[in-house]
């Protein structure tokens, strides 16, 4: 009966991908903008669930659970509370402006807004390159997660590589034809399915942890899990703040999120996005992870060697194969939603933000380049996962904070902050990135503060100083 969970997973993947194919029947993207911004046709449900589903990823089934398992409650404050206080708030602030810009000037990606505002390709290309770098490792994590679920579900019969290939082929087909519209439609069903399963998992884990009494018991057995600096001893109050600010500030600026703001049909939809996301994200998504790591600590008092595999291992051992198949399918769906939007963002960043700005190419060619980059980028990531995983880990350490560095260009461009000049924004991004690399690999986290914080602060200070020095070149505000 080893094939039962596997068959359920494949069925779930195929069924939840169907809306992606159906979307193509109703909306056939003709232009580059249609492909990247779904022709600005996404409804409230599609935007809210798609933005949510973009972040319900391999991390929610594996990475975040391990993060809380290692850092305890301070890890949760940094990730969960930080996300809802900073990222979700930014969704509201940014979304409305991005949608307005998209309506009037047909922008789709952050570098589009940067070029429109500064009227120069230089800051836009720098933003594009930085965002391209930060997207790659995120995608690899999803591929690895999908392959891992299939490997466990088949009892090791389907090797890692074939598992990843199956998901790769299904996704490539609907992404190639429908672009963001297909991706968002598939995200609706995949996101809803994942949320439903997340509630069930949360409730089950609550029972396994022994409820409130079981969790209270943990405070006597591992008190360090509930206090600064966490179990690993890293998450001091200063480190927590310096970690959560750049990471949570950077996330809404990543192209896979930014592009979906541009794609909403009516800008009023974006008014309710923060409230909707915070309800879904906390009650249904983050709490599942929090209760899972607590249950893991109760179940394995001696420690669990690979905490990122905690959830999958517990459910594989304790749940019926069909139910495990559904969970595996939900996990696959969560990873596919993230990966598809990220691949589209990667292709768009490369074709629209870098190539189209550096070389003269027609609209049709740019669209073809985008599609090919999307597919090749995805495949390249798959190969890199096996050949040079160290490279991904290296870039991965940087990527979370890169968004915060590009903020010096994207925020002024989106909010019409004319104090910032193109030279200030470009110098800020370059120097901020250099400091980020330096504080990540050479002088690691100076003064106990996270490297991303140093990168972000350097970018902001440099941007202000250079903008003051070049105040003659201040941009004109964009009329919206």
């Amino acid at each position: 009966m080893w094939w039962v969970p596997l068959a359920v997973i494949i069925a779930v993947v195929l069924v939840t991908s169907l809306p992606g194919f159906i979307a193509y029947r109703y909306f056939k993207p003709k232009t580059l903008w249609d492909f990247m911004a779904a022709g600005k046709t996404l409804g409230l449900l599609a935007v809210a669930l798609s933005v949510g589903a973009t972040q319900w990823s391999a991390l929610s089934f594996m990475g975040f659970i391990a993060f809380y398992y290692i850092h305890g409650v301070p890890g949760w404050l940094a990730m969960g509370l930080g996300y809802m206080l900073i990222s979700v708030f930014l969704y509201g602030l940014l979304g409305y402006r991005v949608n307005k810009l998209a309506e009037r000037y047909k922008i789709a990606t952050p570098p589009d807004a940067v070029e429109l505002f500064f009227k120069d390709k230089m800051p836009a290309v720098i933003t594009g390159i930085l965002l391209f770098i930060c997207l790659l490792p995120y995608m690899q994590v999803q591929i690895g997660g999908m392959a891992y679920i299939l490997e466990v579900a088949s009892g090791g019969r389907i090797p890692f590589i074939y598992g990843a290939l199956i998901a790769y082929i299904v996704m490539s087909v609907y992404m190639w034809f429908g672009g963001l519209k297909s991706i968002a439609w598939a995200n609706i069903l995949q996101g809803a399915f994942f949320l439903t399963l997340a509630i069930a998992i949360g409730a089950y884990m609550w029972g396994l942890a022994g409820g409130a009494a079981g969790i209270s018991q943990l405070t006597t057995t591992i008190p360090q899990a509930f206090m600064f600096p966490g179990i690993a001893g890293v998450m001091t109050a200063a480190f927590l703040l310096s970690w959560t600010i750049p990471v949570q500030l950077g996330w809404p600026l990543h192209p896979q999120i930014y592009m979906q703001f541009a794609a909403a049909k009516r800008r009023e939809y974006l008014f309710y996005l923060p409230a909707l996301v915070v309800v879904a994200a906390t009650g249904l998504y983050f709490m599942q992870q929090v209760i899972t790591w607590l249950a893991g600590r109760v179940l394995y008092p001696g420690g669990f060697p690979e905490p990122d595999k905690l959830l999958i291992t517990i459910l594989y051992e304790k749940w019926h194969p069909v139910l495990f198949g559904l969970v595996g399918g939900a996990g696959m769906a969560a990873m596919m939603t993230t990966l598809s939007t990220q691949s589209l963002a990667l292709g768009s960043t490369f074709a629209n933000d870098i190539i189209k700005r550096l070389v003269k190419v027609s609209e049709e060619k740019a669209l073809l380049i985008l599609k090919i980059t999307m597919i090749v980028g995805l495949f390249g990531g798959l190969v890199l996962w096996f050949v040079m995983p160290w490279l991904l880990m290296t870039i991965g350490a940087l990527s979370a904070s890169i968004g915060a560095i590009t903020a010096v260009a994207i925020i002024p461009a989106t909010f019409n902050i004319t104090f910032v000049t193109k030279y200030g924004a470009s110098a800020g991004m370059i120097l901020g990135f250099a400091v980020l690399v330096y504080t990540t690999f050479i002088a690691k986290n100076p003064l106990g503060l996270y490297s991303g914080f140093w990168g972000m602060i350097t970018a902001i200070i440099t941007c202000i100083i250079v903008s003051l020095l070049t105040r003659k070149h201040r941009p004109q505000p964009i009329k919206i």
Partner: protein, 80 residues
């Protein structure tokens, strides 16, 4: 700065004051004195439930006010 931007700015200021003025001091205090109210997890859950209620209410009211401002703005533009 249009009507919606004004609402956004007001809510940003309220949000920052609540984040740093209301949630951070008791949060830090609970971490320093974990056994202050019936054990740390209880304090944590209470803290978290208040944060959650605040977030949902703040974001919902913000959305409502933005929509009203937007409607007002659209009507003005229509008349103009």
């Amino acid at each position: 700065m249009d009507e919606v931007d004004k609402v956004d700015l007001q809510h940003l200021i309220i949000h920052i004051i609540v984040m740093f003025g209301v949630f951070m001091p008791p949060g830090a205090f609970l971490f320093m004195k974990p056994d202050i109210i019936g054990g740390f997890p209880l304090a944590l859950w209470i803290y978290w439930i208040f944060a959650y209620i605040y977030l949902v209410a703040h974001y919902f009211i913000w959305g409502r006010r933005r929509e009203k401002a937007y409607m007002k703005m659209s009507m003005k533009m229509g008349k103009g």
